[in-house]
């Protein structure tokens, strides 16, 4: 991953500024030295546009998806209350961009709830109808896992050419926070998720051992790192998560990048959680899954 210093950041910032000026109101970021940008953060009321821009800043969807690729997407979609699930606007934009880039197939690694797409305009029906669904889970060993040595997980996660994680960042009563890393539990069946919560011999409750849960989340992320993360930080619950209801925070931001750990560490700050204060992020960093110190990375806000 490209590292940056103050000078390169200023240069990139100048390039972004110039690119934006040259393109007028089009807001295209094509032509930027996108390799130098690790995390893009786009703020605005239009969540479709935010998502497009966030991916364009990273070099565009073509940097991730090639013609004929199969793409696996993972949204946080079981919940129904405001601020508890990935905005369908964000998710459908990613799906549409994948198809436009020539993706052969886009697979939902977890089937969304049946009314998940209902509030989208009808024009998206053709895109939604092209989506396919993941295979039934199989057991996958995790040799480097500390608390989790194997997990049942959909084999589609490993088979797809490109894996795009599309979580919502929000409060979580157990782990205080959830985004990319915890979202991977969505690709596992309930039987495996139970093991995350109940260490062998533990007769306590679901969150009796947060450290074990956090380690399991870090471990399961060893199976496959996302190729692209697109985090919905538009509207989310500040407390009362994961299911809500709860007071809503509205940063109206979409955050994208390749490093799930760095992005989680960054978006956790929207909830007032300091870098290094979320166990699963620390443990994932210790596994070498990504960089916890997002200040070492090149973050471009637009």
């Amino acid at each position: 991953m490209a590292k940056f210093n103050r000078r390169s950041f200023i240069k990139t910032g100048a390039a972004v500024g110039t690119g934006t000026m040259l393109s007028g109101a089009g807001n295209t970021f094509a032509g930027l030295a996108a390799d130098s940008i690790d995390i893009s953060v786009v703020k605005g009321e239009n969540f479709y546009e935010n998502t497009k821009k966030a991916i364009e800043i990273l070099g565009g969807i073509d940097s991730f998806v090639k013609t004929g690729d199969t793409v696996g997407i993972l949204m946080n979609s079981p919940w129904t209350k405001p601020g508890t699930f990935t905005s369908p606007e964000v998710a459908i934009t990613v799906v549409e961009m994948c198809f436009e880039a020539g993706a052969k197939e886009v697979i939902c690694l977890k089937k969304p709830r049946k009314d998940y797409w209902d509030k989208l305009p009808e024009k998206y029906n053709s895109v939604i109808n092209r989506l396919s669904f993941a295979k039934a889970p199989v057991v996958k060993s995790i040799p480097r896992g500390i608390s989790l040595k194997e997990a049942e997980i959909t084999p589609s996660l490993l088979e797809v050419d490109v894996f795009i994680n599309i979580p919502v960042s929000k409060n979580h009563t157990g782990t205080n926070f959830t985004a990319n890393l915890k979202n991977l539990m969505g690709a596992c069946p309930h039987s495996t998720c139970r093991k995350f919560h109940f260490k062998e011999g533990n007769s306590g409750g679901w969150y009796d051992d947060i450290s074990h849960l956090s380690q399991c989340i870090a471990d399961v992320n060893l199976i496959r790192k996302p190729d692209l993360c697109v985090v919905d930080s538009t509207v989310f619950v500040e407390s009362g998560g994961p299911g809500g209801p709860g007071p809503l925070l509205k940063p109206h931001k979409v955050v994208a990048g390749r490093d799930a750990v760095a992005i989680d560490s960054y978006v956790a700050t929207f909830l007032g959680l300091q870098m290094g204060s979320v166990d699963m992020v620390k443990f994932a960093h210790a596994h070498g899954i990504g960089e916890m110190d997002y200040t070492k990375l090149n973050i471009k806000e637009a």
Binding site: P78, K81, P82, T173, N176, Y207, S239, P247
Partner: protein, 306 residues
């Protein structure tokens, strides 16, 4: 004699039903559900779903544990409709009044508008939380327009009419009586580690070993009080906290019944023991933190004398 005894028995059975039947009625959450049409055109004709401790996970997933910590019996849910708008109502039957107060206070936002519905209701943008005896009820609209917000209040009021108020709050909440009224809206009643950990994440393992407790958010400080079954229990827990803290944290000072340290996030943390309570304060400034703890201790003293 047999006839006379039989009549007495019938009278006793009748008296039993007159006295107990109303309570049996409201002890079933379904009996609180307003099936009749409500003010503003809201109505509910859905089949109600019921979840017990065995399948609460299906409804609230990982959120279930918090309900178990406070004391959960069952929940029913269903929706109200009005011209394409929907309000989801979840009616949780908790173990007792304190359990309902606890979960209500946990979810109540300090920014909420407090309403005189049931024992207390808190309105926040698109949702309303209601405490009614041993019930905790959440009403969630999917929008925050005036029709939805008015609907939240009229449905809540109708539910409250069908139930019984308890009028009680756990006695430990009274210890915060010296804090400003506005700050008391942030009070949360605690029954276990999960609720406490959500307010402040500590690495000291016995910090949240308690019988019941409470926390208030005062300026940038969090002030907790934890009750133990006896002074001896408190001594034992407090001593283990001191020992572990000395090993794990950057301790600034220790006295007989108090320890001050800086946690991993640079916060000032003060732990004190008084009688069968231990107090935890977390903040950015020692002096202010200490003042807040003294405020709690004065409330404790006043209420213990009463």
């Amino acid at each position: 004699v047999i006839l006379k005894n039989s009549l007495t028995l019938k009278k006793l059975i009748l008296l039993f039903y007159i006295l107990v039947f109303p309570f049996l009625l409201v002890s079933q959450p379904k009996n609180l559900w307003p099936f009749d049409s409500l003010k503003g055109g809201w109505f509910s004709d859905t089949v109600l779903n019921e979840y017990s401790a065995n399948n609460l996970y299906e409804l609230v997933n990982g959120g279930a544990d918090l309900y178990f910590e406070y004391g959960f019996i069952k929940v029913i849910n269903g929706s109200f409709f009005n011209n394409g708008k929907e309000i989801l109502v979840e009616l949780f039957q908790m173990a007792d009044n304190d359990a309902a107060y606890g979960i209500y206070s946990f979810y109540r936002s300090p920014k909420a508008i407090i309403l005189d519905i049931g024992d207390e209701a808190a309105l926040m943008d698109y949702y309303l939380s209601l405490r009614l005896g041993s019930y905790f009820i959440t009403l969630t609209a999917y929008e925050s327009d005036s029709i939805s917000v008015t609907g939240l209040q009229s449905i809540a009021a109708r539910i409250a009419e069908k139930g019984n108020r308890s009028g009680n709050v756990p006695d430990i909440m009274k210890f915060f009586s010296e804090f400003p009224k506005e700050e008391q809206k942030s009070l949360k009643y605690l029954k276990g580690k999960l609720g406490a950990m959500n307010q402040y994440h500590t690495t000291v393992s016995n910090m949240y070993n308690f019988s019941d407790g409470a926390v208030i958010f005062s300026d940038a400080n969090k002030i907790f009080i934890f009750r133990h079954d006896s002074s001896g229990d408190c001594d034992s827990v407090f001593n283990s906290i001191i020992e572990e803290t000395k090993l794990k944290e950057k301790v600034q000072s220790t006295e007989n019944n108090s320890i001050l340290y800086i946690d991993r996030n640079g916060k000032h943390v003060q732990v004190e023991k008084t009688d069968s309570y231990h107090i935890l304060g977390v903040g950015d400034n020692n002096k202010i933190l200490n003042k807040k703890i003294e405020l709690l201790k004065s409330g404790l003293l006043i209420n213990m004398q009463l």
